[in-house]
C-alpha cells in the first residue's frame, strides 16, 4: 500500500503475567501520502488517495467556533452550522441533503469551541457534486429568515435533550462556563436560550461573512479520488473567491476584545447544581493548557493513567477497591487552541457521602503523583494510544479526521509523526513533574449535581 505504511512503534514490554517470550520491540512510523495544495486565496486542500473502496469522504474545517461569539450571540457558530444545510444560491433549501443522501451518501457536522466541521461520504462518482455543493454554501448561504426561525426551535430542542434534561450535560456546561468565565471559552457552544431566540439574522450573516473565508478553511478529501482532479475542481469553484487577508488579525483582535484567554476565575471554587440524579455526580477541574506544547501531551498521558480503563489509578481506588465510593470515574485532558482544562469526575454510589468523596478524591489526586505513576503505567497508556490511533484509520473518515485535526491544531498535517515521537519519549519524571505542577495541591473548581442540592 503506497499511501499508508505501518511499522510498529511503542515497544511493549512483558506483561506481569509470564509469557514464553516478550513481545518484540521495534521502531517505525505511520506515514500517509498526502497531496497538498494551497490556493492563492489561502484555501488549503489535502488529499489522500485510497482505492480500498470506490467511495470518498470530504471534510471541511472552518477555524471558527464558539470562542468568537460576542455576548448576546452565543450559539451562533452552532446555529450557523445548522443553517449551512438550509439553502444557498444554487442549491436551495433541502437540496443539500437530498443530493448527498439521494446519491447514496451520508453527511453531518459538528461545532466546538474552536472549529466548525462539515463532512460527507459518498460513492466516488459524486465527487464533483459534493464540491459544487460545498462551494455553493461556502459562498452564497441564504439564511432564509423563516428557515432560521424554524432552526432556532430545533437547536433549542437539541439544547434541552443534550444539556437541560441530562445532569451529565449540565455539569459539563457549568464547568466550562465557570472555569473560563471572562474568556472567549466561557460561553457554551450550544448557546444561551435567550441568545438563540433573539440573535438577529443580520448578526448571523455578519458572522458567516467574517469567518467563512477560504483562508479560514481546510478541505480534506480521502478516498478513491485523484488528487489532481480534486485540486482542479475545487480551484475551479473556489479559486476566485476573495478572501480577507486581514482575517488573522481580525480574529486575534476579536479574541482579545472578548477577554483573552488568561484564566480569570478565582480558585478554589465550589458549585452546587440542582439536578434530578438520585446520587451525586461530582467533577473537579484544574486549569489546563492549550494544545501543542509538550506539557499538553504529558497531561494527556496523565489523564489516561489516572482515569482511562478499569486498571487506571482512580478506577482501582474508587470503583473496584474493597470499599468503593463511585459507580464510575473518568479523567480527561481537554486541550483547545488557546487553553485547556484537566478534569476528573464520576457518579457516587448510594452509600457515599459527598463531602467524604471530595476529601478522598483530593487525597488520591495528591498522592497520585507518587502512587499512580510508574514506568509500567506509562507504557500501558502508550500502548493504548497506539492502538487507538491505528484503529481509527480503518475508514476514510477516520483518516480525514486524523490529518485534518493535525492541520488545524498544529498547522501541519504531518504533526502526527512528531506527536508519536513526543508520546513515545515522555518519561516517568516528566509525568511526575506535570502531576506536581498541574494537579497536586492546585486550586480547583469543584462541582456537583444532585436532586438534593
Amino acid at each position: 500500500m503506497k499511501w499508508l505504511i505501518f511499522i510498529i512503534i511503542f515497544g511493549v514490554g512483558c506483561s506481569g503475567i509470564k509469557q514464553k517470550s516478550p513481545a518484540p520491540k521495534t521502531q517505525g512510523e505511520i506515514h500517509f501520502d498526502v497531496k497538498e495544495k494551497t490556493l492563492d486565496n489561502g484555501l488549503k486542500i489535502l488529499v489522500v488517495e485510497n482505492k480500498k473502496l470506490p467511495v470518498f469522504t470530504y471534510y471541511t474545517y472552518f477555524e471558527v467556533g464558539s470562542k468568537y461569539e460576542e455576548p448576546g450571540t452565543t450559539g451562533s457558530s452552532h446555529l450557523l452550522e445548522h443553517m449551512m444545510f438550509k439553502g444557498a444560491k444554487k442549491y436551495k433549501e433541502g437540496e443539500f441533503d437530498k443530493l448527498v443522501e439521494g446519491n447514496g451518501g451520508r453527511n453531518n457536522a459538528y461545532t466546538s469551541n474552536d472549529l466548525t466541521v462539515y463532512y460527507e461520504s459518498l460513492p466516488k462518482e459524486h465527487l464533483e457534486t459534493v464540491i459544487d455543493l460545498e462551494a455553493d454554501r461556502m459562498q452564497h448561504l441564504q439564511l432564509d429568515p423563516k428557515s432560521l426561525d424554524d432552526e432556532r426551535k430545533v437547536v433549542l430542542s437539541e439544547r434541552k435533550s443534550r444539556y437541560e434534561t441530562r445532569d451529565q450535560g449540565k455539569i459539563y456546561l457549568t464547568m466550562m462556563k465557570e472555569l473560563f468565565k471572562g474568556t472567549p471559552y466561557g460561553s457554551s457552544v450550544i448557546g444561551e436560550i435567550n441568545d438563540l431566540k433573539t440573535v438577529s439574522r443580520q448578526k448571523v450573516l455578519d458572522y458567516f461573512n467574517t469567518y467563512y473565508q477560504p483562508n479560514n478553511a481546510v478541505i480534506v478529501v480521502v478516498g478513491d479520488v485523484e488528487a489532481k482532479q480534486v485540486f482542479s475542481m475545487i480551484e475551479d469553484r473556489l479559486g476566485d473567491v476573495e478572501t480577507n487577508s486581514d482575517l488573522p488579525k481580525i480574529k486575534a483582535d476579536h479574541l482579545k476584545k472578548l477577554g483573552g484567554f488568561e484564566f480569570k476565575t478565582k480558585l478554589p471554587k465550589r458549585v452546587y447544581l440542582k439536578g434530578i440524579t438520585p446520587y451525586p455526580m461530582y467533577q473537579i477541574a484544574f486549569k489546563g493548557i492549550k494544545v501543542g506544547g509538550r506539557d499538553a501531551f504529558i497531561l494527556d498521558i496523565l489523564s489516561s493513567v489516572l482515569g482511562d480503563g478499569e486498571s487506571s489509578y482512580l478506577y482501582q481506588n474508587l470503583v473496584l477497591n474493597k470499599k468503593p465510593k463511585m459507580a464510575m470515574v473518568y479523567a480527561a485532558n481537554y486541550t483547545m487552541q488557546e487553553s485547556g482544562v484537566f478534569f476528573i469526575g464520576g457518579q457516587l454510589l448510594p452509600t457515599t457521602n459527598l463531602k467524604q468523596l471530595e476529601r478522598e478524591m483530593k487525597k488520591l489526586l495528591n498522592r497520585s503523583c507518587d502512587k499512580a505513576l510508574s514506568k509500567r503505567a506509562l507504557q500501558k497508556v502508550k500502548n493504548q494510544y497506539l492502538f487507538g490511533m491505528v484503529s481509527s484509520l480503518d475508514t476514510n473518515a477516520g483518516i480525514a479526521e486524523f490529518i485534518g485535526q493535525r492541520q488545524v491544531y498544529y498547522g501541519d498535517y504531518n504533526f502526527y509523526k512528531k506527536e508519536m515521537d513526543i508520546y513515545n519519549s515522555i518519561t516517568l519524571d516528566e509525568l511526575k513533574s506535570a502531576c506536581q505542577k498541574y494537579i497536586k495541591d492546585q486550586p480547583a473548581l469543584e462541582l456537583s449535581i444532585w436532586k438534593n442540592h
Binding site: F6, G102, E310, S311
Partner: protein
C-alpha cells in the same frame, strides 16, 4: 489492502454472476475442534479483531434471573484462581486491547481487538479468563451495586429510560421483553455459583463460532482455542417463537423535572413475519421512514418549513432469528406532543397511500450507497458476517443487496410500510413530566400511567 477483500467489497457495486463463486473461494472457513471459524484475511492495518460467538443468549437466563448471561460475560475479568481482578485488568489493558461482550436474547458474543503484535498474549489471557474465572463474591457484589446505582440513576438519561420502558411494553408476553442487563429484582437473585454454571455452559455446551479479521498471524488462535480455552463444539439452541404480540396501547411514564417528552412508537414482529423473509424490503421500509435527513419522519418533523417539532426522529425495522422489532423514536416539548403524534400518524398513513417517484428513487439510491459505506470498516464487515450466520442468511445476500433494493417498487414499499407501521398496531410510550397527563387528557388520548421505577 488484501486483494481478496478489495474484490469482495468492490463486488458490492456490481451485479455479477461470478460474485457468489468468488466469495465462496476467498472467504476462508476453517474448523478447529469442530468449531467453525470465519477468517477475513486483511493486512491493511496491523490490528486484529476476534469475535467469539455463542448460540446462547439472554433467553437462557430463565425467569427471575434475567441478566445472568450478561453478568457472566462482563465479570469474566473479575478474577481467576491464578490472577486477581486488578492483575487481569492491568495485563489486558497493558497490551492495549479493547474487549467486551454483547448479549442479545438469542446469542452472545465476546469481542477482542488490538494490535497484531499483542495478539497471542492477549488472547491467551482471555481464554484463561474463560476457563478459570471464579467470580469472587466480593467483586460480584460490588458490580451489582454499581449496576443498581446505574439503574436507579437512569432517570437522568431519559432517552435510555424511554428505550427500556418501550422494549418491555412493546414486547410484553413474547419472552423477549426483559432487558438483557437484568433488573434490580433479578440481579439480586444471581449468585456467584450461577455465573460459574453459566460460564461452564458457554465453555462446554454452547454452540460456538469464531470470527477473525487480520493477517495470517491470527491463525495462531487455533492453538490458543484448543490449549487455553479448551473449547469444543456445543449444541445449537432453539429460540423462543413469537406467536402473539401485546395489544396496542399508550403508556405514559411520568419523570420528575423533565422538559421534553420522549416518544417511542412501535411493535414486535412475530416469528412468522421473520419467516416471510423479504429482509431487505423490511429494513428499507425502516430506512425510508426514519434513516437520515431525507427520511420521511425527519422531513416531516424537523426539516419542513413550519415544523421544527424535534431535533431528532428515527425509525428502524430490525430482525433477529425468531423475533424482530419495529420502532420510531423522537422527542419534543410538552405542548407540541399532540402535534408530533398527529404528524407521525399522518406521515405513516400518507406513505401507505402514495410515494412520489423522486422520493422513492432517492431512497433507493440512499439505501444502496449507505450500505456500501457501512461496510467500509472491515471490523464492521466481520460483525455483519456474524449476523448473517446467526439468522441463517447466505453471505451472497450481502453483495446482492444493491440489486434487490433496486428491484423494489413503490407499491411493494407502501405495502410493507402499511404492514410494519400500521398506526392501530403500535404500542406508544411517552416519558415526560406530570403535566403531560393534562395534555393527553385534553386531546382525549387514552393512556395507562406507569411508574418508571417498575422498569428498573
Amino acid at each position: 489492502m488484501n486483494k481478496r477483500i478489495l474484490i469482495l467489497l468492490g463486488l458490492l457495486l456490481t451485479q455479477s454472476v461470478f460474485a457468489k463463486n468468488y466469495l465462496d473461494e476467498n472467504l476462508k472457513k476453517l474448523k478447529w475442534n469442530d468449531i467453525e471459524v470465519v477468517w477475513l484475511e486483511d493486512d491493511s492495518l496491523p490490528t486484529f479483531d476476534v469475535i467469539f460467538y455463542f448460540g446462547t443468549g439472554a433467553l437462557a437466563d430463565g425467569k427471575g434471573k434475567e441478566g445472568l448471561t450478561e453478568l457472566t460475560l462482563s465479570e469474566l475479568t473479575s478474577g481467576t484462581n491464578q490472577f486477581s481482578q486488578s492483575k487481569l485488568l492491568e495485563s489486558l489493558e497493558y497490551f492495549g486491547v479493547v474487549y467486551g461482550s454483547r448479549v442479545t436474547h438469542e446469542f452472545s458474543s465476546f469481542a477482542v481487538s488490538g494490535l497484531e503484535k499483542n495478539f497471542s498474549p492477549s488472547l491467551k489471557l482471555i481464554c484463561h479468563a474463560f476457563k478459570d474465572a471464579k467470580f469472587p463474591k466480593a467483586e460480584l457484589k460490588r458490580t451489582k451495586n454499581r449496576i443498581y446505582s446505574g439503574l436507579k440513576s437512569m432517570v437522568t438519561n431519559q432517552g435510555a429510560l424511554a428505550n427500556r420502558v418501550f422494549r418491555y411494553e412493546s414486547m410484553k408476553g413474547t419472552g423477549y421483553e426483559s432487558p438483557t442487563e437484568g433488573t434490580l429484582k433479578s440481579l439480586k437473585r444471581i449468585k456467584s455459583r450461577d455465573l460459574k454454571k453459566r460460564l461452564d455452559y458457554f465453555n462446554n455446551k454452547s454452540f460456538k463460532r469464531i470470527y477473525l479479521r487480520g493477517s495470517k498471524e491470527v491463525l495462531g488462535l487455533e492453538n490458543i482455542v484448543k490449549n487455553d480455552c479448551e473449547w469444543t463444539q456445543g449444541k445449537s439452541e432453539e429460540n423462543k417463537v413469537v406467536s402473539k404480540l401485546p395489544k396496542p396501547k399508550v403508556i405514559f411514564v411520568p419523570i420528575p423535572k423533565s422538559n421534553l417528552v420522549q416518544v417511542r412508537i412501535g411493535r414486535s414482529m412475530m416469528s412468522s413475519e421473520i419467516a416471510e423473509r423479504q429482509h431487505e424490503l423490511k429494513t428499507f421500509s425502516g430506512r425510508f421512514m426514519g434513516g437520515g435527513f431525507t427520511s420521511r419522519l425527519m422531513q416531516g418533523l424537523r426539516v419542513q418549513a413550519g415544523t421544527g417539532l424535534t431535533y431528532s426522529a428515527s425509525a428502524y425495522v430490525s430482525e433477529q432469528r425468531n423475533y424482530g422489532r419495529i420502532g420510531i423514536s423522537s422527542f419534543t416539548e410538552d405542548e407540541r406532543l399532540p402535534t408530533l403524534l398527529t404528524a407521525v400518524k399522518n406521515i405513516l398513513e400518507s406513505n401507505t397511500q402514495s410515494i412520489e417517484k423522486d422520493v422513492f428513487e432517492r431512497a433507493v439510491r440512499n439505501a444502496t450507497g449507505n450500505y456500501l459505506l457501512g461496510l467500509e470498516s472491515t471490523s464492521d464487515f466481520l460483525k455483519n458476517l456474524l449476523y448473517f450466520d446467526h439468522v441463517g442468511r447466505d453471505y451472497a445476500e450481502i453483495y446482492q443487496y444493491s440489486d434487490k433494493v433496486k428491484g423494489f417498487s413503490p407499491e411493494q414499499l407502501k405495502k410493507m410500510i402499511a404492514k410494519n407501521f400500521n398506526w392501530n398496531d403500535q404500542v406508544i410510550v411517552l416519558l415526560g413530566n406530570e403535566g403531560v397527563k393534562k395534555i393527553l387528557s385534553r386531546e382525549k388520548i387514552q393512556f395507562v400511567e406507569k411508574n418508571y421505577q417498575d422498569y428498573l
